[in-house]
């Protein structure tokens, strides 16, 4: 049986797991939209700052739900794998001819399927609220691609922690840490408009800023090669590190002769 067929079956399982837990579906879709609405309403005056790149804060803040949704993807991926370790399900899988890669591939594919669905909802709500998308229809597709790559990046980090620790609690424990990374980035303001030096420095070092800026560039500026290259590059680098780390952790967990 091919790796793809095994991965597809594992992806189906991952999607079922998510859809059967309302707590894994509603927060990843609802919370980012609520936060987007609060920010779009409360921070509208930020658009009057000299140098702010758009006159509608919605165009700026639309990137936020994609990143926040990716954090939930990390939690979902990590929790699911940790549960497999805790319940011994991993041993059941180890006794089948399943390839290790199929398990990781399936888990991440399932999480990304849910992330794609969430992303479409974020965009739909954004357009309904008056979002102006500078890069046009092609830009929407590129934004979805980048959003999925970011979801993969965070999900693979979640998978790494879930497999390394084998503990759902440990996976949940990384959520606040990731949230701090999100807020210490250019999530609310462009980096050049952050007044405090320390905050601006951290936001510049923080790779999450480049994810925001890559997504945002398509909405506000159209086709900005540098922002897109940095966004895709950072997301790809995190995804590669995450997937390699998760694969290594799975090798340790899924021992068989």
């Amino acid at each position: 049986m091919s790796l793809l067929a095994q991965g597809a079956e594992m992806a189906r399982r991952s999607v079922l797991q998510t859809l059967r837990q309302p707590a894994m579906v509603i927060p990843p879709i609802g919370f980012p939209l609520i936060l987007m609405a609060v920010n779009a309403g409360g921070l509208e005056s930020a658009t009057r700052l000299p140098g702010f790149p758009t006159d509608d804060y919605l165009n700026f803040v639309i990137a936020f739900p994609f990143i926040q949704g990716s954090l939930f993807a990390a939690i979902n991926a990590g929790s699911s794998l940790a549960r497999d370790v805790e319940t011994g399900f991993l041993k059941r899988l180890a006794l089948t001819p399943m390839q290790r890669a199929a398990m990781l591939l399936g888990n991440l594919a399932g999480v990304m399927t849910v992330a794609l669905l969430s992303s479409c909802i974020y965009l739909g709500v954004g357009f309904a609220a008056g979002l102006h998308f500078e890069a046009g229809a092609g830009g929407v597709l590129v934004l979805l691609a980048l959003a999925l790559l970011i979801a993969l990046a965070f999900a693979s980090l979640g998978a790494l922690i879930g497999l390394r620790t084998g503990s759902g609690e440990a996976v949940q424990g990384i959520f606040p840490l990731l949230f701090v990374l999100v807020f210490l980035s250019s999530s609310a303001l462009p980096r050049e408009l952050i007044e405090r030096d320390w905050f601006r420095t951290i936001a510049t070092i923080n790779p999450v800023s480049y994810l925001f800026e890559g997504l945002r560039s398509l909405v506000i500026f159209g086709w900005d090669g540098e922002a897109l290259a940095l966004g895709f590059g950072v997301a790809l680098a995190i995804a590669v590190l995450g997937v390699l780390g998760a694969a290594s952790a799975l090798r340790t967990r899924l021992v068989r002769t």
Partner: protein, 344 residues
């Protein structure tokens, strides 16, 4: 034993870092179609042995062949030939019984057209047809064990490993599972390697039993042969007053050699020709009141006791202290003749 459905183990050892040898030189052979009971207390090394034989844990030393394949060199071939239900029913609480069957039939590589019928057949066989579309998180312990067994059978394995399959089950669920396991071996010719800490399970189900303690097999044979090694029955008496234990022991000593007893009680292996009536008369004549008097036919627990100096079902490491008096467990023999509150 190449190309057979049996198991052949030679000098199998598993050592963990900074720990004792969990399995310490186990030799055994299981014939095709046989049910082999691997009996021992918690921590004896049963599950570690199963993990090695199912290729999920490399041995530190020794060799083993399962269904004709070496467990270290031919891991994939071993896995293709075996089914296993490990100690905890490893199920996904969010999936239904049928979801599990679909996943397992797919990952085991069954042709697409066979997956659904095979899954339905096994779900039906273990009595879960009505519950097959419910999430496993809502299953009882017995239902989970039965689904676990069905999943292990998806690819028609020639050798089946069951690691404490009935632990935590109620008597009715346990009996159902025994019936299914017996059917697999007798009718389908599946070789079954079953670990258990229940004497009754080994006695009822196994063709042969290997008793393991501290990683070593201390006795092996058919349950009947093992019990025959012990021979005569034993009698155990627990005095009504704690301070009378020595008096009880003195009376019993007239009837045979002392053997280990439950906390607070005394016991002897009866000499031939003695019976319980004679013991009761002697206790009565000496004016010793007893709260509990039992005649034990030799059991696998007696075999374990004879080989290790400890009782199996009372807990291998339980101290035989006076403090344990009030919480003392009953003796582990099968169907003891019992008299309560005898004596003057």
């Amino acid at each position: 034993m190449t190309d057979t459905n049996g198991i052949e183990v030679l000098g199998l050892v598993r050592e963990f870092k900074n720990g004792p040898r969990a399995v310490d030189g186990v030799d055994l052979a299981v014939a095709p179609g046989e049910i082999y009971g691997f009996l021992g207390p918690n921590g004896a090394g049963k599950s570690t042995a199963v993990l090695m034989l199912t290729t999920l844990l490399p041995p530190t030393a020794g060799t083993a062949r399962v269904a004709g394949h070496d467990i270290v060199r031919d891991g994939p071939a071993v896995r293709a030939a075996i089914g296993a239900a490990l100690q905890e029913a490893a199920l996904d609480p969010l999936l239904t019984g049928r979801d599990h069957m679909r996943l397992q039939t797919t990952l085991q590589g069954l042709p697409k057209a066979q997956r659904r019928p095979r899954g339905d057949e096994l779900i039906e066989r273990v009595g879960l047809a009505d519950a097959g579309d419910r999430k496993v998180g809502g299953y009882s312990g017995g239902m989970k064990r039965r689904l676990d067994l069905a999943l292990a059978l998806v690819h028609s394995p020639r050798v089946l490993f069951l690691d404490e399959p009935t632990t935590g089950l109620d008597p009715s669920s346990r009996a159902d599972l025994w019936q299914e396991v017996a059917h697999l071996a007798r009718d389908d010719g599946v070789t079954v390697f079953l670990t258990t800490q229940y004497l009754e399970e080994a006695d009822v189900l196994a063709d042969r039993v290997g008793i393991i303690d501290h990683g070593r097999i201390v006795a092996e044979g058919t349950p009947e042969a093992l019990k025959a090694q012990i021979g005569r029955p034993s009698v155990e008496a627990k005095p009504a007053e704690r301070g009378d234990r020595d008096a009880v022991a003195a009376v019993l000593a007239r009837f045979g050699a002392p053997v280990a007893a439950s906390p607070g009680a005394a016991a002897v292996r009866l000499e031939s020709g003695e019976d319980l009536v004679a013991v009761v008369r002697a206790l009565d004549a000496d004016g010793v009141r007893v709260a509990d008097l039992q005649l034990h036919q030799p059991s696998l627990d007696d075999v374990f006791l004879a080989k290790t100096g400890r009782k199996l079902e009372a807990g291998a490491d339980a101290p035989a202290s006076e403090e344990a008096w009030s919480a003392s467990a009953g003796p582990g023999s099968q169907e003891p003749a019992q008299v309560r509150g005898t004596g003057a």
